[in-house]
Amino acid sequence: MSTNSNHMNRIVDKEFLSENVVKIVVEAPLIAKSRKPGNFIILRVSEKGERIPLTIAAADEKNGTIDLIAQKVGVSTEKLAKMEVGDSLHDLVGPLGKATEISKIGTILACGGGVGIAPLLPIVEGFKKAGNRIVSVLAARSKDLIILEDEIRKWSDEVIIMTDDGSYGTKGLVTEGAEKVIQNEKVDECIAIGPAIMMKFTSLLTKKYNIPTQASLNSIMVDGTGMCGACRVTVGGKTKFTCVDGPEFDAHQIDFDEMMMRLGGYSEEEKKAHETAINQR
């Protein structure tokens, strides 16, 4: 092992999973070796770039690469999506965050919404390898936004697809698919990852059935090491930092309304930056 070997950060593969969701495979041998399900990284595209937190969707220890999946939501993620195979990320650091606590529990209901399916993947893999039964519910607005279906299927005993417009799978929300599963069989734990609103309603559903539920949060962050506190979230009435105390928390304790409000904390500034970027083209 050389301490400098993770500093190439070269993109070796790139693929659009949908119009706005890109997957890049990056050389990062140390992170590929040390990462665990639930961990994330922080990257910067360029010298003047933002620090972008992204969950590690998969890792290939032998080839020393990690898979990162990002949705174009603003200036920085658009710049990331424009990078090509052979380019190098300016900075890459990790693995960050607490790893998912994985053990043999029984039946796991794994709910993924949109780009939230990416962080769900390594968790599903981990629980499957630990001997659990996995029922996955993947949901998105329409068919082309359902990502990583084959990969999720590989580690699931059953997969239910839900789309808002009915263009694929069953028409309806993630909660409808999840509730059907809960009514059909005993679910021991639920994992929900996706847009905050989706996690909120999934959490409300599982609370009704008393099923322990973990949600993985995508709060705003700067450093990702506990230093800035931008990612704070109220869990069980106490302020927690998503980067060092999370990113997974007991969903039934999370104040999702506050979390959603905080996700909009820089929306004005981001809109301005976006407009500036468009005008510069």
């Binding site: 300016h90 650091v93 060092v244 409000m261």
Partner: protein
Amino acid sequence: MTILSEYLKEQRNEEWRAQLRKKLKGKERTNIPRVDMPEVSAKERTKYQNVEVNLGLDKEKAIIEASRCMDCATPTCIDGCPVQINIPEFVKNIEREEFSLAAQTLKKTSALPAVCGRVCPQEKQCEELCFYTTKLGKDPIAIGYLERFAADWERESGEMSVPECAPSNGKKIAAIGSGPASLSFAGDMAKLGYDVTVFEALHEVGGVLKYGIPEFRLPNSVVDVELDNLSKMGVKFVNNFIVGRTASFDDLKNEGFEGFFVASGAGLPRFMSIPGENYNGILSSNEYLTRVNLMGAASDDNDTPVLRGKTVAVIGGGNTAMDSVRTSKRLGAERSIIVYRRSRAEMPARVEEVNHAEEEGIEFMNLANPVEYFAGEKGRVNKMRVQHMELGEPDASGRRRPVPVEGSEEDIDVDLVIVAVGVSPNPLIPSCLPELEVSKWGTIEVGDNMQSSIPILFAGGDIVRGGATVILAMGDGRNAAASMHEYLSSEKK
């Protein structure tokens, strides 16, 4: 200590020092008034985020100031310096216009003289113990200004001296974090012939010197030159690397690292746990300063955003609070207010920083504490409720305890609040090493020699102290370097 005092005596007895002492009579020296630091006017400097306030002394002023120093037989000033700079030696070198030798004297014990000359609280350290302060009741020698002068002169001369290093002993050691404690440690270990690697979690090296202290107080270019100097001494820097995460301590041991110095800093910002504190527009000073200083958020060509406010309240009375409130003024705030629960006299911030802040139009609301925040429809803070306080009996810190005045609440319109009420230790390293002993506050427990419960692991700076100054961190770094050297050279291990 006796070795040090004999060494100091020897230096003092050198012919040139003896001659220089005779050059002026004591009275002639003590009659010279203390030099004033030239500054950029408040109106001008608040237009920019990165214009340094203090301009530094010119050659003539520095020589006159240096000639005030009595070259005492027992230089008490050194006792006030956590890294024990040979103060009379460097000051007298300035007086005889050997500026390069003055800088070299600084670098013998300090890895960051240009930094310390700017940010050290000299008024509470060397200058407080100066003969002028203690015996004459006069303004002390401006040791800090002179330190800065010597370091700047050398840097600007383009002929930086690299401190002498012992031949390599082949031993690899790691410093974790790249702030002042680590840099000071790395410099001393390099001088002793160790192969030092500094690991930094962020994308830039320098720790609090880069992400925390604003450029109007400490330009990044000054820090970079000091870092460059350490590189020339053979210190290696690895950024984007979290020891314990990117690779484990065992991985690094297998790679040949024999000793570790943990100086990972005081990571977690403290909040006050009052209602409404998680509204948008309320952030830690760490976040605010990191966005501006490390991420360059104040300039349009950087992608990182920063919130701007018309009325900005900064909670706290320390240097970080001053840095934040003065930054907000530079980012266009109409009103920037310090809200501090004690009185002005108890403020932990340096007097110079408080004075600069006042010159820049910062308002001070002392003896007041926020108790609740309110927000508009999008969750952006728009009002804070403060409770006024009065001073009661002294508390454990010796300062009079602030006591709330019943019924004194007052609402103030604000659209940005920066919370600068202290930090807690970063849990990243302790969480990777379950056998490491930590206090109930999460600081790493060390002995006087900075050694932790894991013998090859030493620690210093804020991860041990919980929140201190650049120079105390540097003192820890030196202390740890001496102890680790002794430990790694001994048979015991």
